[in-house]
Symmetry: C2
Subunit: 362 residues, 2 copies
DNA sequence: CATTGATATGAATCCTACG
DNA sequence: ACGTAGGATTCATATCAAT
């Protein structure tokens, strides 16, 4: 059995399933898996000008049938589910050749799909023969271990980085090319399917916190490890081929800096501690039996020791009472109620903020 | 058994599978299917013809909970495969809740995926709770009956309509709203998932010829029927609920006009008849033993009666000879060779075009 | 050094009618 | 059914050489 502390921020050379079986249960915060796609291509594809297109022709992508591929995926996905923490989540990337196998199997295993995310390629390889639509995207499945599981989603961070609009399920990102693409001694691409760092950046920023441990069971050239490191997360990788293990290890060592940008550290999504209104009474910020008003000074109600409000007709929580005054079923009372301090109306939310600042280290 | 001529351009009220079973084999050119999602858990275990997961341990079935939906989809997809012509193709649309079931089952049935096409919604409903990425797309699977099947793809039409660039697998199209959306007496939307006509337009334009028969086994409000009619294709629909049958029938009747735009009628993709170069000699357009040249007047070769070219070294077809001159294995000789007419060099392709015009009715 | 043009290349289920 | 010949087919971007 592997001790996590011994493998944190390393790449283990080995077979995915075999190696995963040595991991303890519920030890991983997030998984990014880029398995073989089982492309089923035959022969050579010529470009229009006559040169050969260099697609995926590696042994690791060869399977004898869907059945064999399904079983392989069933096995590694089952291990991923076991090693994932209850509040963890998993990303799996594929293309139309394999993603319907992956999605089906994951649903059978009880994984719960949060989103399927489309990586729309801004510069895809064209369809040289004009036989189909240019295949310009890949699909990622983002899932929890099961239907009921909670999970990390840095909503505010993603919204901020998307020009203050909700991030959507279609991401337009270029292919991994140029300097980012690792090359061998002959200047040829080291790996057939290296993913762009931009893609991993969005994956990690959206679904992990700084310090989380991210597993990549098909590490390849180590994009997950490099981006995790840069974003102040931890990683552990599994990779079968020695040359990729070496290249990825070098790559991670060379990550130029670890970010200290608070946005990248998910500061926007740090949950503030809950402060019951009774705490504000105990702290002397609000007084028992004092009156609360709406922002115009109307709708006066009396604050009870329990933190509930009495309008002479009923006794309700600050939220239910503001909802009642507004004729709604739900409302956030912290934004509705004010107290009188001298001649001014002061929002009770201001007292809550003050309380948090004063007692933040408790 | 239903006679196709009796149901052409009508909507049949009935259950999908039951009705499809009355259709003759190989009678449909194209299918567009927008099936319901109804995911019922805890159904009876019914396997898909034994092909799935033989040899996988018992954990498999323990996790199964989508069986009833799978079984339903297996049945209607199998009937679709039966009624589809050998050269037909099928489109199936779904979202992450069901599309992995659909894709998996289609692959199990032997359907061959040509593309998965993403309908990216330009105006999706936001995620109100901020709990996930905004689900801003749906997925369509475009498939032939089997791996070897040929199919209709109007490549040039799609390219033309896309600003003369290859059409890609991600389509950005707004939701169906406004006047296009059918309403009931109370002004509420008549159907929960009415698809935009623009989507069906691209589906039909890319994969059918005018006059083709398009089946929609879950017709709903009849978007497929309306767009098929407008684009001079035929349709047959199946729909369970009477109110939708009525609304869709009215809708088709009201289609304002049938297009006569040659682009929409796929004129760009009409295959031109093959003209062997010997025909041009017989027609007196080219002369035996005259010389052919490249576009600069160089590389002179002699035209033989057989239509082959002699460069003094070897005798080859116009294609092989142009390839030889270019140092390639393949080339289109029609674009390479010219003859002298007066002081001008004239492309032999021009003579081919003239020949086609002159003898087009043969 | 700046600009222009040629070349290289990316997870690809990449042809079809005729004899 | 199968082999073969005809002939149709590419977009965005990075790099590097040439001007």
């Amino acid at each position: 059995m592997i001790k996590i502390s011994n493998v944190k921020n390393t790449i283990i050379q080995g077979e995915t399933v075999e190696t995963l079986r040595q991991f303890p249960d519920k030890s991983i915060d997030c998984i990014f898996a880029d398995p073989p796609y089982f492309m089923q291509t035959e022969g050579t594809l010529l470009r229009t000008e006559g040169t050969a297109f260099q697609g995926v022709d590696d042994d690791w992508d060869k399977f004898s049938s869907y059945n064999e591929y399904d079983q392989f995926c069933f096995e590694w996905l089952k291990e991923c589910q076991r090693v994932l923490k209850d509040k963890g989540s998993i990303w799996v990337i594929g293309s139309f050749q394999n993603v319907y196998r992956l999605g089906y199997i994951m649903q059978e295993l009880g994984f719960w799909i949060l989103n399927d995310v489309i990586w729309e390629k801004s510069n895809p390889a064209p369809n040289f023969r004009g036989t189909r639509l240019t295949n310009a995207h890949e699909t990622m499945l983002w899932c929890t271990k099961n239907k009921k599981a909670s999970y990390t989603f840095n909503y505010q961070t993603m919204k901020f980085l998307n020009g203050n609009k909700q991030e959507r399920s279609v991401w337009n990102i270029p292919l991994c090319t140029g300097n980012e693409r690792l090359k061998d001694k002959n200047g040829k691409k080291l790996h057939a399917t290296q993913k762009p760092e931009k893609l991993l950046e969005k994956v990690i920023l959206s679904s992990t916190k700084p310090g989380d441990l991210i597993l990549d069971p098909f590490m390849g050239t180590g994009t997950t490890a490099a981006v995790a490191t840069q974003l102040a997360r931890n990683f552990v990788g599994i990779e079968r081929e020695e040359k990729y293990v070496k290249a990825a290890t070098e790559r991670v060592k060379a990550v130029p800096y670890v970010t200290n940008d608070p946005i990248m550290l998910a500061s926007l999504d740090v949950k503030k501690p809950r402060v019951p209104i009774e705490r504000l009474i105990e702290a002397g910020m609000l007084k028992e039996r004092e009156s609360l008003f709406d922002k115009f000074g109307g709708n006066g109600v009396v604050l009870k020791t329990t933190g509930c409000l009495d309008d002479g007709d009923s006794v309700l929580s600050i939220h239910k009472m503001s909802a009642k005054k507004l004729g709604k079923t739900n409302h956030n009372g912290w934004d509705y109620w004010f107290v009188k301090r001298g001649d001014d109306l002061v929002s009770i939310n201001e007292f809550r903020e003050n309380y948090r600042e004063q007692f933040e280290n408790e």
